[in-house]
């Protein structure tokens, strides 16, 4: 399978934070959710990918090309939507479009006008007079109007309401079905990804914790709920994260078969969501 993105051994030292040997790849035509808590290293990784930051070590290949050497060629084929709009606030949407459109060889004005209509965006209104959701939609309209093969989204849904987030997920799904684009979607709101992502890459404290297909990740973990007396020191070792309170325990294990053999029918087993997987990996064992 051809990879649209390959990151190997990526290092970046920012003093108080370090990105440590980050490696993962994204096959062409798939959506990858890049998840992790705030400050985990998602934005740093994306900035390194976009050459907004300089890496200390490692290798980044986009479309099989080195992202520094072939920066301009690569950026012609990458569309980006960031958590904040960096377009010019005092200009109208059309003026902002005039600025950006010149930089792309394959700017598709018809596609842009169609997106403006689809997203109900007022072309002559100044950007500063739009809501956060509308600004994100404008960023998306720009991103989808220059025939990019790879869509890079850094926390595009943070601070947005569930209706807009759901709408955005629909657009992404449609893109994938109709246009065979690849998407790297960074977020800490994992529920956004459950519906659309094919792969999940989970980063915490600058290190990749898990990176696999979403189904493998969900099926490879089990959420266990039971009484405290069922927990022995030996049993606790089977959990990645464990939450105890006066009424019992709740834990996440990456060994569903082992858990079933160990506990039998004495505990409640559930399929975890991405949110639970992330929380248990980040927080580990703790008492409430």
């Amino acid at each position: 399978m051809e990879n649209v993105l390959e990151i190997k051994g990526l290092d970046k030292n920012l003093g108080s934070f370090r990105l440590d040997k980050v490696s993962f790849s994204l096959p062409r035509g798939y959506i990858m959710g890049f998840i992790g808590p705030n400050g985990a290293g998602k934005t740093t990784t994306i900035k390194l990918l976009m050459n907004l930051m300089h890496r200390d070590d490692g290798d980044i290949r986009v479309f099989g090309l080195d992202n520094r050497r072939y920066e301009k060629e690569i950026k012609q084929r990458i569309a980006f939507v960031y958590d904040e709009s960096h377009y010019y606030e005092n200009l109208s949407l059309l003026d902002n479009r005039r600025i950006v459109a010149h930089f792309y060889r394959d700017w598709d004005e018809k596609a842009f006008q169609r997106r403006l209509r689809d997203f109900d965006l007022p072309p002559h209104k100044k950007l500063k007079n739009l809501s956060r959701g509308m600004r994100t939609k404008f960023g998306l309209a720009i991103a989808l109007s220059h025939a990019a093969d790879f869509l890079l989204m850094d926390e595009p849904t943070s601070g947005l309401d569930p209706v807009f987030r759901s709408e955005l997920m629909d657009i992404l799904q449609q893109l994938l079905v109709e246009e065979n684009k690849s998407v790297l979607f960074s977020t800490h709101i994992t529920t956004d990804l459950e519906r659309v992502a094919d792969y999940i890459c989970f980063i915490n404290q600058g290190r990749i914790v898990l990176c696999q297909s979403k189904d493998e990740m969900l099926q490879g973990h089990v959420l266990v709920k039971g009484a405290l007396e069922q927990l022995s020191p030996e049993a606790e070792k089977m959990f990645i994260g464990l939450r105890k309170n006066h009424y019992g325990f709740e834990g996440l294990s990456a060994d569903p078969r082992g858990i079933r053999q160990f506990f039998g029918d004495g505990v409640l087993l559930e399929s975890p969501g991405l949110d639970e997987i992330m929380v248990f990996y980040v927080r580990g064992h703790h008492h409430v």
Binding site: N51, E71, Q76, Y82
Partner: protein, 221 residues
Amino acid sequence: MFKLLLKDLLVLKSSIIWAMTYLLAIIVIFSMTPPFDKFIYIMAGYGATYILIMGTLMAEFKNQSDILLNSLPVKRHEIILSKYLTTLVLTLLALAVAAILGLIINLLPLPLSIRLMSGMDAAIVLLMAALTLTIVMPVNLIFSNQAARVAIVMVFMLLFFAPVWIKGFIMDRCEAEWAQVLINTAVSQPAVLLSVGAGLLLFLLALSLIISLRWYEARDF
């Protein structure tokens, strides 16, 4: 590069209108106020350039546009080169508008009498703009937009007071051999003196460009 220049002109739409209004006001007001009438093109041209440079810096700062620009298919050195080039184009634009306004005022039957713009006016405005750019651009990149605003005011003050101070400094030492040479050259060959000044300024401008390029290339956003 041309795309970045177009970007600056679009971003500056409102500042350009404001700068041109200022330009017209300066020409009209000071054409009737001796001895300032001798310097109207310098005051108007440089003032308008100042407004436009500040407009560009403010717009880029306010929108954190470095992140947007560096995400587009454009190299970092092109962004910096375009910033310098934009200032030159804006200065030429301000000079052209000032010259045209002067010509129109002369042609119309108005109760105003002003001279036409001379080559020396244009040369002095270009040198003043180049000096401003030389100092303000690296300061803006290395420190902050706030520091750049302070720097641009200081350059403004320098351009206002330095000539008088330099003149006083030279006249106080007019017996010295170097001062004699300088005064003689200024009187007999002002173009030579201007060329030396321009050469020195070009060297400083090149140094400023190199510093800006190196800083920007190494920067993390």
